[in-house]
């Protein structure tokens, strides 16, 4: 089970910054919860640029991004 980080409510670029720090600690992968499409796109772009695969699951309001090497 991956560690989860909760970036809901954080404004740009904090979700990406938190993701960067989290994968620094857990290079195998993390789950990131975001609550807006901008953060979803930014975290996804950052993860892909960093060599991670991203799976996105959404429940309508929040999105859970699973980042795997």
């Amino acid at each position: 089970m991956f560690n989860k980080i909760d970036t809901r409510g954080r404004s740009c670029p904090e979700p990406v910054l938190l993701t960067q720090k989290a994968i620094g600690q857990n290079p195998e992968g993390v789950q990131v919860i975001v609550d807006n499409t901008t953060a979803r796109e930014n975290v996804t772009r950052f993860a892909k640029n960093s060599g991670y695969r991203v799976e996105i699951a959404g429940d309508g309001k929040d999105y859970i991004l699973t980042l795997r090497r």
């Binding site: 560690n3 980080i5 809901r8 910054l17 720090k21 857990n26 796109e41 772009r45 640029n49």
Partner: protein
């Protein structure tokens, strides 16, 4: 080009519209300038009485309405707020004071560069220095904390306010001011300005274009996504000014500009630092406000008040150069923003973990 295609096209579109708006009557190298136009709107509303810069700019209204429609359609509209609102209000004031020292927001800085105004090069250096400062704070745990959900109605009020501004502009009641000379008297026909604004709002909302985000993401994450939009604006506006014959390379006698390099640098440094702390440039704040981000609405109101202060207190520079009051205000702003940066930074940024390990980074 790949995934960068939309943002490059948006940048190109903004560059094209900026050139076109000048042809239709907007001031030179000022086809679009968010801060200048907020300043003009503040003047139109009578919040300041600088006769040369009073006109409710339809571009601002159009950008907000375009972004609102795009956000509604794209499912991005979401009323939220509560992330250090008064800090944002104050930072909004000083982003405007810094921009009006330089005489332009980050967007106009690019347009000035494209027009050959080399003073904007010092502005760009200051802007980059301010962004570096902001990134330093972010890397040291700066945060204005999270936002919370608000009633949807709250989110509709900002677009409604913009419609009210449009109503005042069209109805021209006697308490609304219209410049008869100066930059405020140079404007494209209302319908063209409004339409250009709507197009920019639609495109910039979809692509999240941000002038400060470009350099910031490049520095922080080596991400060239947003900066490609910034560069596209420059390339297209440069092409436009070269082809249109308005390109004028140099430092002296540039339109709505002064040649005091130090204060051009410091003004944009203040604007760049403030914009990073806010999470986006003035254009982006306007768009986020239209998406229902009430913190950005508060920032917009701060920018409106900042514009009024800038002229009521004699802080704004002019073609004659910076004023003594303006120099003091920019230095005060830098000190205030540095203090806010420190006080809003958490030494140990707690990453809330729900897994088995607690992370303290």
């Amino acid at each position: 080009m790949g995934s960068k295609k939309p943002i490059i096209l948006t940048g190109a579109l903004i560059g094209t519209l900026a050139v076109a708006l000048v042809k239709f009557g907007n001031p030179i190298n000022m086809g679009i300038c968010i801060v200048c136009f907020i300043r003009d709107t503040a003047g139109g509303l009578g919040l300041h009485r600088a006769g040369a810069v009073q006109y409710i700019r339809p571009e601002i209204i159009g950008i907000a309405l375009g972004a609102f429609l795009a956000a509604l359609r794209g499912g991005d509209f979401n009323a939220r707020g509560g992330s250090a609102p008064f800090t944002r209000f104050l930072v909004g004031i000083f982003v405007v004071i810094g921009s009006l020292m330089f005489l332009g927001c980050p967007l106009r800085m690019v347009l000035r560069l494209a027009g050959g105004d080399l003073n904007a090069l010092l502005g760009l250096l200051g802007f980059a220095a301010g962004i570096y400062g902001g990134v330093w704070f972010l890397n040291n745990g700066f945060t204005l904390k999270r936002t919370y959900s608000l009633p949807r109605t709250e989110g509709y009020l900002f677009p409604a306010l913009q419609l009210a501004f449009l109503g005042l502009l069209v109805a021209k009641p006697e308490f609304i001011f219209f410049s008869t000379e100066g930059p405020g008297a140079s404007y494209a026909p209302l319908i063209i300005s409004l339409a250009a604004g709507v197009i920019i709002g639609l495109a910039a909302q979809r692509t999240r274009l941000c002038m400060v985000g470009g350099l910031r993401d490049l520095i922080m994450f080596k991400d060239t996504h947003l900066i490609s939009g910034f560069l596209a604006i420059f390339v297209v506006a440069l092409t436009g000014s070269l082809l249109g014959g308005s390109f004028n390379l140099g430092l002296a006698d540039q339109p709505v500009a002064h040649a005091d390099g130090l204060w051009n640098f410091l003004g944009m440094m203040l604007a760049g630092l403030g914009s990073v702390l806010l999470g986006g440039c003035p254009l982006r704040q306007l768009i986020l406000g239209a998406e229902g981000n009430i913190d950005s609405v508060i920032t917009f109101m701060g920018m409106l008040v900042g514009a009024a202060f800038a002229h009521n207190f004699g802080l704004a520079a002019s073609a004659a150069g910076p004023t003594a009051n303006g120099r003091i205000a920019v230095l005060l702003g830098l000190v205030l923003l540095l203090a806010l940066g420190f006080f809003h930074s958490e030494r140990a940024m707690e990453v809330r973990m729900e897994g088995d390990v607690n992370l303290h980074v």
